[in-house]
């Protein structure tokens, strides 16, 4: 059997709506320090570093410049991936699988609070000729998609509201979450309209925070830590950047990414998974993504949710951490938050949120508006 890649250390900060008393360097340093401590290694033991960032989220051109210091990565192989955490995780895994590198570090963070006009930045990602000149707030795209998705699948606003309820309630048990709450369906349905049928509470709110994850090849991992968590399969996919090309119903990017990850992990039936952390930037996205992953058949995610299938005590708990709706939206670092939750669950260290006998976890990501790209990673604690 081929040698797997394992996660041997995680470090993270509190997630908060603002973080004015630390710079991005200082915030990331805290997460890095914790990760090295968790893995019991020092930066000098690391062979390669990957960080995720997008220039316009940071307000800097070439943010890559500002990556190495706080990771202890000066004069080491370091590069950024301007994509979500799972794609960057794949970059780390591939580097390790070349055999040249033994230990890799992955960093992702959000200083979303520093962006004064976030919708202007999102709009700047729209096609500059076809869409952007219309001057719409880019959230319209989530409205269009939610509308078509609900109509085609038969899921309803009641179901999307249940997603909000579940995730914010799960977040009550997550000490790092920024937006925990105990809400009623009525609270969600009556929240302010943003882009019908999308309402204020359907949208995850931004948060600041940093994550650092340390990876090693299996043989090294076993020597270094007691509870390595293995990456069994990983997939990532670009569907299309062109809005006009999409059907707004199926998350094809996630179907493709999942197929790639399932194949590598040898998973024949998605229901083999014990729990999942799935992108829920918008409430309907969780349902759309559950269906894309094959955890529910098309149109059945809402009913399964209603029946408690995805609750923490259900058959496949989804977003036990609270997801982005409960923890806060960290842009491309969302999936790192998901990976950290999966690692905690698989190490049996999730405290109040711990689910029993968890062996296989799945994390699925989406890059947010206006993209159609995402990734899937399958993690396990099986030797």
């Amino acid at each position: 059997m081929k040698e797997r890649v394992a996660i041997i250390g995680i470090g993270y900060t509190q997630l908060r709506p603002i973080s004015p008393e630390v710079s991005f360097r200082e915030m990331i340093y805290e997460a890095a320090l914790k990760a090295y401590n968790d893995a019991g290694i020092e930066p000098k033991d690391v062979d390669t570093f990957v960080a995720i960032s997008e220039d316009y989220y940071e307000g800097t051109a070439i943010f890559d410049e500002y990556v190495p210091d706080q990771l202890g990565a000066v004069l080491k192989p370091v590069h950024t991936i301007t994509q979500d955490g799972i794609t960057a995780l794949a970059a780390c895994c591939m580097q390790i699988k070349t055999g040249i590198f033994k230990i890799a570090v992955l960093e992702g963070h959000s200083k979303a609070s520093n962006i004064l006009y976030p919708s202007h930045i999102d709009a700047f990602a729209l096609d500059p000729i076809l869409v952007r000149p219309l001057g719409f707030n880019p959230v319209f795209l989530a409205g269009l998609e939610m509308q078509r998705f609900l109509i085609e699948t038969g899921n309803t606003e009641y179901h999307t509201s249940l997603v909000v309820l579940k995730n914010k309630r799960n977040a009550l048990k997550n000490p790092i979450a920024a937006y925990p709450a105990n809400l009623s369906i009525e609270d969600v349905l009556s929240s302010n309209p943003v882009s019908f049928p999308l309402k204020e509470l359907d949208i995850s709110k931004k948060a600041d925070g940093a994550f650092v994850i340390i990876l090693a090849k299996e043989s090294i991992a076993k020597k270094l830590v007691d509870k390595p968590v293995y990456i069994e399969g990983i997939g990532w996919l670009q569907e299309t950047p062109n809005i006009e090309k999409r059907d707004l119903v199926n998350a094809i990017y996630l179907q493709g990414a999942a197929n790639m990850a399932y194949k590598e992990a040898g998973i024949k039936n998605p229901l083999e998974i014990d729990f999942a952390e799935i992108d829920d930037t918008f409430s309907y996205k969780e349902l759309q993504h559950i269906e894309a992953l094959g955890i529910a058949r098309p149109g059945e995610s809402g009913i399964m949710l209603e029946e408690g299938y995805f609750d923490p005590e259900g058959a496949i708990p989804i977003n036990i951490s609270g997801g982005s709706l409960g923890c806060g939206n960290l842009h491309d670092a969302n999936s790192l938050r998901g990976i950290v939750e999966a690692v905690l669950q698989l190490r049996n260290e999730a405290g109040e949120r711990q689910i029993e006998n968890a062996e296989i976890g799945l994390v699925a990501s989406w890059r947010g508006i206006p993209t159609a790209s995402g990734g899937v990673v399958i993690l396990s604690n099986r030797e």
């Binding site: 051109a61 210091d69 000066v74 004069l75 192989p77 370091v78 991936i81 301007t82 070349t98």
Partner: protein, 389 residues
Amino acid sequence: MQKVAILGAGLTKFSRRAKETGKELAFYAAKMALEEAGLEIDDIDAVVCVSAPDAFDGVHMKGEYLSDGCGASKKPFMRSYVGGGSGVFGIINGWYHVASGTFNTCLVVAEEKMSSSMPHPQGIFNAIYDQFLERPLGVNLLWIFSLEMQRYMAVHKIPLELIALVAVKNKKNAIDHPCAQEGIPGNYTVEEILNSEIMCWPVTRLMVSPVTDGAAAVVLASYDFAKKFGKENIWIEGVGWCLDTSYWTNRDLYYPRYVEYAARMAYEMAGIKDPRKEIHVVEPYDPFAYKELHHLEGLLLADKGEAPRLLEKGFWDRDTLNGIPSSPSGGLLGVGNPIAAAGLMKVIEIYWQLKGKAGKRQVKREIRRGLAQAWGDLMQVGTVVILGK
């Protein structure tokens, strides 16, 4: 580790302002690379895109935006980013896609449409500096280069004339490059280079590469896949990259140690003990004239401070028989500088040289192995690729 081959390469014309959108430039380059490789898009397992700051093209998350032009729709797609070093890093990124055994083929596309940024593309470089300590001073890109150049010259006591020779050599080499940007190549004298208007002393206009739109692409394949396409393949023998601290004002800029570290990594992988004997042709990154010399030293192909003296002796000339031809393509100073695409253009030049397909630019000496290098960020990152027959 899987051996990785280059099966095909593509380039667009370089120009100050292209009519094409960034996506279209990417498509032209990618399609050309596929055609040379004799492959269809369905043969490609994964796509890598490299491009410098989003602020040039003027699209946030520009990797996403460019992806369909790169042939990435419904494929695993990754954009890696190390500033100006991205062009050569694209190959490294693609290399680990294949070398890891994850994919059989990978299409690497580099694109830059700098002309979108107004009033002048240089303006966006303001934002590469530290927002707390440096941007408030009204910085521009040329500051950092002229500061580094000054330090390099001061430490080694290098006369400006020797540095101007780089521009003379590269602009002349570029006359033979079919993609070169209009008005950039030419036969210049050292005096003409030195007497062009001062931008940021000691940097004069003709010692700076221009602002350019363009794209480049390369098809990579695993050993098993490539061997079906004949024996005369060009292989990636070594790769290396390294990032130095962001506190650039704390470093002695006279020497690019990050390039040295990256080069040592690549030499080790390629099993190279004596690079001066084992590297036969080199494409060092030359956005500014002194940079080529600076990088040749970092690559350990010349002693510190010696690259300019070797230049004077013709050691780096294209026609040299006992030296190492440097920037036979004409480099960024001659062909143009669509940042990431320029880096990949350098790799492609080495590939064409090794294949014997460089036409009028073909070097005279016998070559079996070549090296391309790029640099980026705040005088900070080195990326190195070694190709061999």
